[in-house]
Symmetry: C2
Subunit: 273 residues, 2 copies
């Protein structure tokens, strides 16, 4: 079990919720290395995957073929650190913490990647379940990991993604315990948000996904279920990281789990009518 280290935020939590996305990014750029959950509430956060151009086609195709775990919100031009999702942001500095990968192995977790940047790097920004957690709360569905102040539980499954060129790997899912009477609402609310993973892939029965122990997630924290809760599983944006670990491209950069890219795009843009 890999538990994300929880860093005590250096700022007041309720204040961070009301920062603008630009203010949040400026604090991260200045070196604040805290999980971004709860920051700039109402604005979409994104997973980050950076690969050399020589691997970019495989990643783009991996996203096309696996849209639930890898909903691509933007793809940059080679070498560019700019995205349409936040025109004034610098993707090399504006996340709270990064991960650097060589041949599929984690080699560093820096707070910026300026010195590692190259002209051939392509950045993929991938939708994140933080957006639909707000929609669940708005619909009256409790989100246990938020209640308990923990990172969501994530698991490698026995289901394989559809491969794309040299990229392959397991589907990674996030799990939220949902009161049985509200599972239908949770399905309906998230189904309307396909760009941020959409409807659950699975309800109940962890074993049929190859998950043996809900208390031992592969990423994130264990989250306590209450009596009457059912485990509900969504495709997870950590899936591309699992594919990098399985497929071993020579070089890659991602965000550190929970340390996302805060965009200027309101969550409502990704909610369908």
């Amino acid at each position: 079990m890999t538990t994300t280290p929880r860093t005590t935020p250096a700022v007041d939590a309720s204040a961070s919720a009301h920062t603008t996305p630009a203010q949040a990014r400026r604090q991260y750029r200045d070196g604040l290395a805290v999980p971004s959950s709860g920051w700039a509430v109402g604005f979409t956060q994104a997973n980050l995957v950076v690969l050399p151009h020589e691997w970019a086609y495989d990643m783009l195709l991996f996203g096309q073929r696996n849209p639930q775990p890898v909903p691509l919100l933007d793809v940059t031009d080679p070498g560019s650190a700019r995205t349409a999702l936040a025109p004034d942001a610098d993707l090399r500095t504006d996340l709270p913490r990064y991960r650097v990968w060589e041949d599929g192995s984690l080699v560093d977790e820096p707070t910026d990647v300026v010195d590692l940047w190259r002209d051939d790097l392509v950045t993929f920004l991938v939708g994140c379940s933080f957006s639909f957690e707000m929609a669940l709360l708005d619909a009256g569905v409790p989100v246990r990991n938020i209640e308990q102040g923990r990172n969501v539980s994530m698991y490698r499954t026995s289901m394989q993604c559809r491969p794309a060129g040299r990229l392959s790997g397991p589907l990674v899912v996030s799990m939220r315990p949902i009161p049985a009477s509200q599972v239908v609402t949770a399905v309906q609310v998230t189904a309307r948000m396909p760009d941020v993973h959409g409807a659950p892939v699975h309800v109940g029965s962890p074993s049929s996904l190859g998950i043996t122990d809900l208390a031992s997630p592969d990423f994130g924290d264990a989250v306590d279920a209450y009596d009457g809760d059912v485990p509900v599983f969504w495709a997870c944006g950590v899936t591309p990281q699992a594919a990098l670990m399985a497929s071993k491209p020579p070089f890659a950069i991602t965000h550190a789990p929970g340390h996302m890219f805060v965009t200027d795009v309101p969550d409502s843009v990704y909610r369908q009518p």
Copy 2:
């Protein structure tokens, strides 16, 4: 104005509506070269774009950046003539008619492309508005081009797609005259089908799209509007063909307008709840 030649179907129209997708493809494979509108009703039809692997990244990125005109339903591995959308189909023979492009110019319209196939060709299958026309009819919204037995009217607009590498070009739209009282229904019905172009991009006012004369479409047929109809514009799957014409890759294959690939996927798969 380019009018698609209308070929008299060699089979009874009501019979073709009730063929299975596999039966339709077999007749096209055997040489029947007719528009596929009205065939195998209830199953998704797709636009086809085939490019050398060296251009495939640009096309894939063009689709990611322009999902309304270019909703990618499947992308094949290089050289493969197989698609997950119809596992027994052969993409080189099973469309009623193809177009072959060299340096952005149309050079041939054959009924198969077996002799032109190469190991480096990648096929893109793109959602088609035929799927949402059935949904409009189901909702009681008249579809004038079907009533009048014509191909839908399509126009190059003054709006540019977001470029991707070497690929750029104008947004192409299809236009359907919709009774004013049913425009809202038409928006709601098609908004639920983002994989087949989704909600309209524009309602009324052709001139603000740079369209000077609705009676002179750039592709397809002119369609008569009735009193009280409003022109409603949807992003169109001919957009990639316009990008090929503008960007001039050395070699490409597409379907001929209206002569689509009939998949095994029911339209209902692309209707959201």
